[in-house]
Each structure stands twice: as C-alpha cells, then as structure tokens.
C-alpha cells in the first residue's frame, strides 16, 4: 500500500523522560521537572527537528508517586508561555480539564497563549479521571464518565462561542475620530446551557489562527464520539498495527458521520523510541532502564489502572483471571483494556508487564536503530494507522535529540517530513483550515486570512 504526503510529529515532553526510571540515569537532572531552562532546551531541540508541535500532559492533582519519580508539574499554560518566548515556529499544546475549570477563564487563557505565541496554541481537552482530582475541587465523588463528557461538550461549545465573540476586524484604531473598536462586531455568547451560563464576550480578540487547535486523547466510546465532533488532532495509544488501523478507520468514519472532513482530524499514536546505533545498543539501553524500575511502586500503579487491589497482583505471576471490565472503570477506560490485552496476549508476568509499561504507560515502545524507527513510523503511516506520531522520548533531552538528529533526517530524505517550516501557525503546520467565525460564516466572508492582528 502506498500513501503520498507527509506525516506530522509531536514531541510529548515529560520531566526527564517518559520512562519512569529515567531520572535515575547518571545523565539525568532530577530537578529538571521544575526547571524552565530544561524545557526551553527541549523546545529548541524539537524546533530544530521542525516538529509540528510539543505537548504537555496535566492533571490538577499530586499523584501518589513523590517517592518514585519527579512529581512537580508546572501548570502547562504557564510553562508553554515561557516556551513560546524561546521558540518561533513550533506549536504549543497544553492539557486542561473541562471538569475543573470555568469556560470563560480557560478560553481566555488559551486565547492569550495563542496571541502571545503568534497563533501556535493547542488545547488537549481532558475530562480528568480520578477521585483524587475531584477531591481537590469540592467534590466527594468523581462525576460519572458520561457526565464528564457531556460537560466537556458544552464547555467546548461555550469556548468556541467565546473565541468567536470578536470578529476578525473589530479593531479599527481610528485615532482621528477616537474610535478604537467597532462594537457592532462583538458577539456576546449569551449562552445558557445545562452546565454553564456565559453572557459576555471574551476580552481577548481572535488569534492569527482563529482559535487554538482542539486536541483530544480519550479512546473510549464517549471519547471517540467527542473526538469525531470536536478534535482536530488526537493522541492515542496502540500496541499493534491492527489495533491502530481499526481505531484510525473508526475515528475517520465517525468524523465523517459527524459532518466533518476526515482529513481535518489528525491521528497521532504515541511511540516510545529507544534508539541505538545498533539493535544491541538499543536493547541494552532498554534493559538499563528496566533495571532501574522499583517494582513495588509500579505494581501499585498497575493495580490502580486495571481496578484491583495491589495485594491481588504477584510480580512473578500473570494477571489474575478475573478483572473488572472496562464498563466498571470510571477512569481511563480504553487504557485499562489495552494493558490487560497486552498482558494476556503475550502471557506476561506482572513484572514483565511492568517493564513493558515503564516506558510509555501503554504506548508502543519501539527499540531499534534510527532506520528501524523511521521504517516503523513510515509503515504505520502508509498502512493507514496514523497521520503521524506522538514522540515520547524515554529519556530527556537525550532521547529527543536522538530522534531529531537521527530519525527525522531519514524521514526528510524520504520526503515524509518537512525540511523547513512553511506555515506560521499550529493550524498551518497540521494542514488544518483557519475556521470561519461562526457568527459571520453564513454571510459573505468579511475578513482575510491574515486577520486583524497581523496588520
């Protein structure tokens, strides 16, 4: 099968690497999770590789792993604003919760990041699983999965109204007459919904790219329907090409059914590339990282993910036969299924499963040479399993440097990846259209692509 065109690459940044034991390597700075210079360095490396974007995960909670790994998480819109100043081209995608924010505040913060970065912002929309997070926000119980997604849909609807509450050409800046803006081109949302009432317009104009790119990462039934309706890029986790193809086809179909162009949703599975000059060198790196895992911590996390008590798991036994099914999980439903299937399919002991999960928490770990990593990426792309990849370097910065300096040039030589940025905004990097303003789209377009802010 051949498929023309170029793929998209996102750098998923996390502390000193996605592998939970990466901080224990001699090369790693264990304070880097709180060091903005570390992240600026990573952003510059990713931009050197002409990557589409970088991405930060997030949750408003301190996970129970302070003993185990670096646990400081700077708030992503703050951190990405700092990275905007250290870069010129790369997109900046922050995770934020629809369950624990107010639409006016969050839409405004993303609009501000979008303007400060010159149209490079993206929002990874999450509903935030976990009772611990709920308990930080006046709740004694986690809202149900379905309710969280209903709330998310209304939250995004309100955000879109807010981002379109200024037409592109509000600002007239007529010093002579003393008229700064044309307030007939301000459209207050006047939204009164089930979860939210938001009357007034945003106090930030439309950005160079119209509004931030909407990103989503849930793969449950609710998550897929939500993505089909709203998402412009999707992060997802698959262990096999066949699973990825099934997901890809399913989500493109749902997007079409939702009345959208399937090409306007970019599907990016995660990959943890462990790169060596030889296969043996890569395997030794992988083994070195596995040896540094403390299994007693990892076991507790695995137990939580699949919904059992840690005492029910034994390190040198396979997973128990009877496990709660996806329906009983209120958290990351699809991730639970992926992990259980991985353990069962390969008949792994709990210890082996922990080793496999240590690098990517369920994402595909691929260990090999740069050519093999490039081959795998291209293979998934040409075989309809991905529009690109979410690169989760096991160790940072070295793993991202290896990817950018060794894998990217191969993809560029093959014509599969850009050699220079041709676009200006995140939307342009991903080949996504600048959305028309929903308040004026019915009539004649009244503004150019350039928008009011670029003059």
């Amino acid at each position: 099968m051949t498929r023309p065109g170029r793929l998209h690459l996102n750098a998923f940044l996390m502390s000193v690497g996605h592998h939970e034991a990466s901080w224990r390597l001699p090369e790693s700075d264990p304070y880097a999770d709180l060091d903005v210079e570390h992240f600026k360095n990573l952003a510059r490396i990713a931009e050197r590789g002409r990557l589409d974007s970088l991405f930060l995960a997030d949750g408003p909670v301190l996970w129970d792993q302070v003993g185990r790994r670096p646990s400081g998480v700077l708030e992503p819109t703050v951190l990405l604003t700092a990275l905007a100043g250290a870069t010129r081209h790369i997109g900046l995608i922050a995770t934020a919760s629809t369950t624990y924010n107010e639409p006016y505040n969050l839409a405004r913060r993303f609009a501000s990041l979008d303007i400060v970065s010159g149209g490079r912002a993206g929002w990874n929309i999450v509903t935030t699983a976990g009772l611990d997070a709920a308990r930080n926000f006046n709740l004694d119980a986690l809202p149900a999965h379905r309710e969280r997604y209903e709330r998310a849909a209304e939250f995004v609807d309100v955000s879109l109204k807010l981002w379109d509450s200024w037409d592109d050409d509000v600002i007239v800046a007529d010093k002579e007459t003393g008229v700064w803006g044309d307030d007939t081109r301000i459209y207050p949302p006047a939204h009164r919904g089930h979860y939210y009432s938001v009357a007034g317009a945003l106090n930030v104009p439309r950005s160079a790219q119209g509004h931030p790119v909407l990103v989503q990462a849930g793969s449950s039934e609710n998550g897929r329907n939500f993505a089909a309706r709203y998402a412009e890029a999707v992060f997802t986790a698959h262990q096999t090409l066949a699973d990825a193809q099934e997901f890809y086809d399913d989500l493109k179909r749902r997007t079409l059914e939702a009345g959208r162009d399937p090409d306007h949703i970019k599907i990016l599975p995660g990959i943890v590339p462990i790169i060596g000059r030889t296969v043996a060198e890569a395997r030794e790196r992988e083994a070195e990282l596995e040896r540094l895992i403390r299994p007693e911590y990892a076991l507790a996390q695995l137990a939580g993910l699949i919904g059992v008590d840690p005492s029910e798991l034994s390190l040198d036994e396979p997973l128990p036969a009877n496990l709660p099914d996806e329906e009983q999980i209120e958290g990351a439903k699809s991730r639970r299924t992926l992990v259980v299937n991985l353990g069962r399919r390969e008949n792994l002991t709990v210890r082996e499963l922990i080793g496999r999960l240590g690098g990517g928490r369920g994402h595909l770990t691929f260990t090999g040479t740069a050519v093999q990593v490039a081959d795998e990426i291209e293979h998934w792309y040409t075989h309809g399993a991905a529009d690109g990849f979410n690169i989760m370097a096991p160790v940072l910065p070295s793993g991202l440097e290896a990817f950018v300096d060794q894998v990217v040039p191969i993809l560029q030589e093959r014509g599969r990846f850009r050699t220079e940025y041709t676009g200006r905004t995140l939307r342009e990097h991903y080949g996504l259209p600048r959305p028309a303003n929903r308040n004026t789209a019915a009539g004649t377009p009244v503004h150019s692509e350039e928008g009011a802010l670029t003059r």
Copy 2:
C-alpha cells in the same frame, strides 16, 4: 518630619498608558495592548530603573468600552510568564479573582509563575465587582460585597495551605536508592470549609520565596480588614496627603491588631506622573491628553462608578446633590467616595471631573517636572503617607521612560531608592520575610533561606 530608609516603586502597566486617551497620541501603537513585545519593552524599562515590581490589573469581562479605548487584556499570569523570560530581577504581580477561580488551580498557577520566575511572583487578590463578570460565571446576580470577602478569606487560607503542602526539603533525588521525594514531608491541606473543600497537596513545590507575595487593593471597611490580615503590599488611591496619612495609619494599626508586624505590609498609593522638562511643558502634555478624551464615553463610566443613570449628569454642571452613598454600592465602594469628594471639594463640573479622572480613574495625577515628582513622592514617604508608590504612567512607554530616566535618578541620589538590585526575590525587594512553612514552623526550622529548589 524625617523618616530614614528607602521607598518602593511598582510600575502599573496598562496598554499604552493609564490615560484613557493615550492611544490617540501620534506616538502610541493602538494594537500594543495585545503585543507581548510592547510589554517586554515596558518590563525592561522598569527593570532598568531597578523598580521593585510591575503589576497588571484584571477582570474576567469585556468592559463596555471597545469603541473608546484598547480593550484586549491578555490573561495576566500568561503575560507575566512571558515577561519573566525577558527580565531577571523585577517582581511580577498579577491580579486574579477569588470569586471566579478555584483555589487549587489558581494557587498552582501562581506557584508555577513563582518557580518559572525564580521567586518573583505576586498575587493581587481581588473579589471582582460588577454584574457583568458574574454573568460570565453562571450567576445572575453579583454576590454581596461581604460574601465576596468571606469567600476571599477562605480562598487565601486554602492557597496558603496548598503553598505549604510541600516542605522546603521534600526533594531528596537519591538516584542510588531510587527515592525522588520524601513523601512524609508532603502535607495535604485536607481543607473542608464553608466555600471550599480541597483534600490534596499541590503538584508544585514551594518556591524560592516560600509563596507569592500577597497584594490587595480594596480600601473599603471589608477591604481594609482583609488587607490587615493577609496583604504584604497594598495598592491604594488618594487625592490628598491627609487622606493618605489617615489610610496609612489606619491600615498599619489594623495590621498590628491582626497580630502582624506593620512593617510587613507595604502601602503604595497610585500616582499618575505627567512629567515635563518645565511645568509649562507638563501642563501642555496634560491638556493635550484631556483634549483627546471623548466625554460621552467618560460620562457613562463616571455615572456607573457613582451609581446613577448617565442621564442624571450634565457635562457643564456639578455633580447632582443627591447621590447614592457608599453603602448602596456593591462595587468599588471606596473609589466612589473618593470621586464624589473630589468633585465636591473642588466644585468641579462633570466635564472637569472627567478630565481629572481621565488619567488615573481616581488616583492622584501629578503634573510637573521630574524634581517636583520626586519631591512629592519623597514628601508623602517622609510624612507617613506611603511606603512607596504605584507608578501609573499616563502614556506608555514614554511616561515610564520619563519616570525611570528622570525621576528615579533623583530618588537614588537622595538615597531614597536602590541603585542596584540586592535581592533575588520579590519578597527581598520589598523587605518582606520569607514565610516559614505553617506545617513545620512550630518546631525547629528545617530549611535554609535558599530552599530546596536552588540547590
């Protein structure tokens, strides 16, 4: 009267200046309110002058003035993060509302800004007056003044618990044993109060300065009591030395009665300095700005401030005899009284009052030479009316440049202002102590001034 020591100076940044007509001057960029480079330039000018801090006001609402003046307001924690990267020393104070945020999110965002900036963050705590803001957050009515302040007090209590939820020496980073942090030194707030329940610890450690400096700007009875209990710096507005002295004495007394050291609350009245090489030049600048005001807009704003319908005001008449008193105002109570008293004391017509308010919305406008501005500042300082000033340049950047290049050197020559930064954090600039962690303060101090993050 003589008073030794040095005063403190904050640069209050706003678009292209505090004078509402400043954007109409030939020198002004009317798009600058949305241009991060404009603000970086202002921050560098303020830092060149060795100012303690810069400050951004805020409200989650589009004010009804798009026609009148630049109305885009980038979210302050985002904008200040961008400015943190453009500066090294100056403090960064953002306004945020306790009425329309969640403590976990806001405390975390300020902690993140504090870490990204190396301990330079401050939070101007506001309760956000105005029905328009309430209607952006699911409400049909503004919560009462008293309720907003009760909520604010609990909000700050929770924030302090969150900022102290990591001891300074949590991070041990022991690669050998694989222990990153000492989770016995994590103190979850477990807060269950009237307005908020927040169970878990923050996912951001304590900063170099312990926690952001707490700033407050309300001068009502509720506002003064709140400031006495929490504030470390206070922005205030006075038209006369006598009023400022009364406020200064009152707030220092209340702070003492609240069990705090009165020297640990710095009182900074606002001043709009209109600076010329001669008095005549300064007066001409002032007149030029007044001529550019559109009175029909300003009249509507004045009416709102004092609680009457615009039709009750005539441009060439004094204020009406019967006006709602402070008790009937749910918004900026003390500002209403200040404006009414100014109009009555000087028997101003509405047009004249609008001219006087155009520059500083009730703050003191001082028109003169650099020496006269320095004299006025020093006079208020030595006569117990201020610990320093909140500098509200009428036009930006030129008004801040004039202050920094002409007034600051005079204050430095007189020994009234620093010539170099000697501290590293905002707290150190203001001579405020680094707070002990409330969870460990009863015992022996377990950490040095340097904290865990500085290594």
